[in-house]
Symmetry: C2
Subunit: 258 residues, 2 copies
């Protein structure tokens, strides 16, 4: 089975022009078929401030009203996505920008209102890889922003980590899929203050122990749940760490397997 | 030869939610392979005002400094393009949004500075239909916004009419290409005040006479030059008129042929 690398980058790369350029240089050089998923970074918040829009967060999650949805559609699908695509083209990586609406690739359902109304936030229902597969076969690299649609004309804000894992799961029967979450730390650490305490391997077996021992807590918990879900759904491996993990054989990072 | 319809819409449709929805409904129902190109409408200017950006126009053309380029990338490639794509998906038209950077489809060159520095404005150099052809073969409808790139990482603001004609020209050896410019009038009129005075047929032969007789003047001149250029480059026909020309056999509009 051919390998497909699915790589997610977030604010620590997107918000730093030099870090982004150097990441994209290395990304463009990856030879196997690949997909890139990017989050939004600080730009949406900056623009919201400039426009006098109030950013509403509940438990660290943005509440997406109509004005906020318009704003992130402009920032994520417009400015960030198209600039990444243009930069990749300059590095001879033939990229095409995607939201989940494009090619009907990711359909989601507006999150039901319970105690909280998250607004125009979508939970992924269905990934259709057909058109993406055609593009990969033609050596095109899809670049996804964190937007999906409900197939009824509504765009929906969707977590970029989830988009990455759902894409990896959807391709798992056609490729040996490797999912890479790039973030600002070396991976999952036994001691958050000690960058050298990276846990190199996590399996579905060892995972519960790490939760019981309170090594995986707070923001890492949903992130890791997402990873475990992916390997349970036949993603070959999930790696978490600094972007160097993609290019540097000596890098320290966390690998999650079934 | 199969027919390919290439349709450009502008502000009169984009700025009006009801007009846009009804246009997209009819567009989605067109059976032959098709491409949509959209301009920007008033939204970019509105957002510029909200952000306190000065809109600079010379001869009706926007001067595109860095802040303006970021703004139109957000509005054209983000908000307008993705909302059109999501709406088309809801009407079972499998659309994918494009700038010229996506798939390296339209490469342009930054306009040289002469007496005027237009800023980040690109003149089209090369259209590559390869990926678009693959998508059309899979019944996907590309939706273009008015941005191109220089293949060196720079996005460039490019006239939407030109993008439409260059795409039509590039496809002319693979399809019988029909290029439709939708605007607010019934077409080219002998008397601008009389909507019934539409000139139904213009050919490369009759064109010069219409210029000599000062029937084609002002803003219509570059528009029509663009059309004549297209038919000279083997575009089968160019139609100018209200969007009804696409769907209503009794509509009055102007057709330009070689």
């Amino acid at each position: 089975m051919k390998t497909l690398k699915i790589i997610k980058i977030g604010g620590n790369i997107i918000d730093n022009d030099a870090a982004l350029a150097s990441f994209l240089e290395a990304f463009a050089a990856i030879e196997s078929p690949k997909l890139l998923i990017h989050g939004g970074g600080k730009l949406a918040t900056q623009l919201a401030n400039q426009l006098g829009l109030e950013v509403k967060l509940i438990d660290g999650r943005r509440i997406t009203d109509q004005a906020t949805l318009d704003l992130i559609t402009m920032v994520y699908a417009g400015k960030i996505n198209k600039n990444i695509v243009a930069q990749l083209q300059s590095k001879n990586c033939n990229a095409i920008g995607f939201s989940g609406a494009d090619g009907n690739t990711i359909r989601s359902k507006k999150r039901p209102v319970t105690t909280t109304d998250f607004g125009f936030v979508g939970d992924v229902e269905k990934v259709d890889t057909k058109i993406l597969q055609v593009l990969l076969d033609h050596k095109v690299t899809p670049v996804f922003c964190a937007l999906t649609h409900d197939k009824k004309g509504q765009l929906l804000n969707t977590n970029a980590d989830t988009i990455a894992s759902e894409l990896a799961i959807a391709f798992a029967d056609q490729y040996q899929t490797e999912l890479y979450y790039c973030f600002e730390k070396n991976g999952v650490m036994r001691d958050i203050a000690d960058e050298s305490s990276v846990i190199k391997k996590i399996t579905t077996q060892s995972y519960q122990g790490l939760i019981d021992d309170k090594i995986i807590v707070d923001g890492m918990l949903p992130k890791l749940n997402n990873c475990i879900h992916a390997v349970q759904k036949n993603v070959y491996k999930v790696c978490i760490g600094k972007p160097e993990m993609l290019f540097d054989a000596t890098a320290n990072f966390t690998t999650i397997t079934k």
